[in-house]
């Protein structure tokens, strides 16, 4: 430690803070200044990018929805023909989009999730056509182990010609419940060795959503757009 600067020593004419406290105050104010400056910088970037990020996220969602409706024709503005469903258990709100062609029901697209993935919640988009068959399933968000459980997401699935998620296409929601399991549990769906938990979680969540939507299909198509429903015990 160097000797205190004589200018900083208390003088009889004016009251001066002790040097240590002065240094502490200077440090605190400079930290405050840095914090304010960089917070402003982040807030500015956030404002500048917000619109584009929202657009990119909406496009991504639309792309996923379109992928769950292969070969199905619909002519309504899908993203606007929407219902909201409160899931009794988790308190989460899922969306249901309704595809129609010339006003006639074509398919329901449901936002749902599996709470029990290996890495926590797996967000899913499931479509169910008017014959009660699944049009397609997509994973919207997940935290499964990279290179191991992430085959549930077709973007990460290594077997491009035989995607794991494609086996749900055409599955019948009215099939006996025990078929809606992975083969290891006696059902009819494949899983990949070493990562059964991910496959099991997705299969069961798809089954819950498809069976629920199939039993309430008419009511779901009849409800006015924008309405909020309660799924409660049924789901």
């Amino acid at each position: 430690m160097t000797a205190p600067d004589p200018a900083l020593l208390p003088s009889p004419s004016r009251t001066v803070l002790p040097p240590a406290m002065r240094r502490a105050l200077v440090s605190a104010f400079s930290l405050l200044a840095f914090t304010l400056a960089f917070t402003f910088f982040m807030a500015f970037t956030y404002e500048m990018t917000r619109e584009r990020i929202g657009k990119a996220a909406a496009e991504q969602k639309m792309r996923l929805i379109a992928e769950t409706l292969p070969g199905l024709r619909y002519d309504n503005a899908l993203l606007e023909d929407v219902l909201e469903v409160e899931n009794g258990a988790g308190g989460r709100v899922g969306k249901i989009w309704r595809a129609r062609n010339a006003g006639a029901p074509v398919a329901l697209v449901l936002e749902t999730f599996a709470p029990d993935g290996y890495g926590g919640r797996i967000d899913l988009i499931v479509s169910l056509d008017n014959a009660g068959r699944i049009g397609g399933v997509r994973v919207a968000a997940h935290h499964e182990t990279p290179g191991l459980g992430d085959y549930i997401d077709p973007a990460k699935d290594r077997k491009k010609e035989n995607l794991w998620i494609s086996q749900f296409i055409g599955a019948d929601a009215a099939a006996p419940a025990r078929q809606w399991e992975v083969k290891k549990d006696g059902g009819s769906f494949d899983y990949r060795a070493g990562a059964t938990v991910s496959a099991r979680a997705v299969t069961r969540a798809v089954a819950r959503a498809a069976i629920w939507a199939n039993t309430h299909r008419e009511a779901l198509f009849a409800a006015p757009a924008g309405k909020r429903l309660k799924a409660g015990q049924e789901e």
Partner: protein
């Protein structure tokens, strides 16, 4: 050669080999283990780290006069976290498909100690130009190690190379090196596999350095022996 360009070459050599962040400093293991399961992810994260490190070294060396010694660490973390957040938002807005590949790992760069280490060890006491070059060199040093580690893990774990490349360049496809029947070696894809393969890479790195040192030694010994004869 001028002294200045000699100095820059030294910075680059340090980053790429002598003080390589992955092999010599062994810093930044968190992303190395998490995302090096394949080459495309590893290189993408490496490039994001280069950008974060260049920006943070540049900002910190430019501001170093105003950062009091006692509070330098919180200020460094503040600057790094702010820059990474800005980078994350920019990626999300303008390179959305790449953003989907990197997922949660871009914000994790904040906790990558190699960025803070360079801020503390280099940018806080050197000029803006040197610090920027140091950021590039250290970042690229991490990129090549990540690329090699990712490629090896992917090759051993799943028998592929460049899987996921179509998310970055839609007209390219991954290579199935051992054909579709390769059963895969799960361990390489799991975190322990990252440790094993990184260990092998570090052993190779040390072996090369030891051999070079031996050559240099025997060469200098020869020159000493040769001197009296001449």
């Amino acid at each position: 050669m001028s002294e200045r360009s000699q100095h820059f070459r030294e910075i680059i050599r340090n980053g790429l080999w002598r003080q390589n962040p992955g092999l010599a400093q062994i810093l930044g293991l968190c992303p190395i283990l998490a995302i090096s399961t394949n080459m495309v992810n590893a290189v993408s994260l490496g490039i994001a780290t280069v950008m974060a490190m260049v920006l943070s070294n540049l900002a910190i060396s430019a501001l170093r006069r105003w950062i009091a010694y006692e509070i330098r660490i919180p200020v460094f973390i503040l600057i790094i976290a702010a820059l990474v957040t800005v980078l994350d938002l920019t990626f999300n807005a303008y390179f959305h498909s790449l953003y989907l590949v990197l997922g949660i790992f871009v914000p994790l760069i904040t906790t990558n100690c190699i960025v803070l280490a360079r801020a503390e060890a280099y940018a806080a006491r050197n000029g803006v130009l040197e610090s920027t070059i140091d950021g590039i060199a250290m970042g690229l040093g991490l990129v090549w190690v990540l690329a090699l580690l990712g490629a090896l893990r992917e090759l051993v774990g799943g028998g592929t190379l460049f899987s996921g490349i179509e998310m970055v360049f839609p007209n390219l496809t991954p290579i199935n090196v051992f054909g579709g029947d390769y059963p895969g070696f799960l361990l390489a894809s799991l975190p322990p596999g990252a440790f094993f393969i990184l260990g092998i890479l570090i052993a190779g790195y040390n072996a090369i350095n030891a051999r070079r040192a031996k050559h240099a030694k025997s060469a200098s010994a020869e020159s000493i022996l040769a001197a009296p004869a001449a």
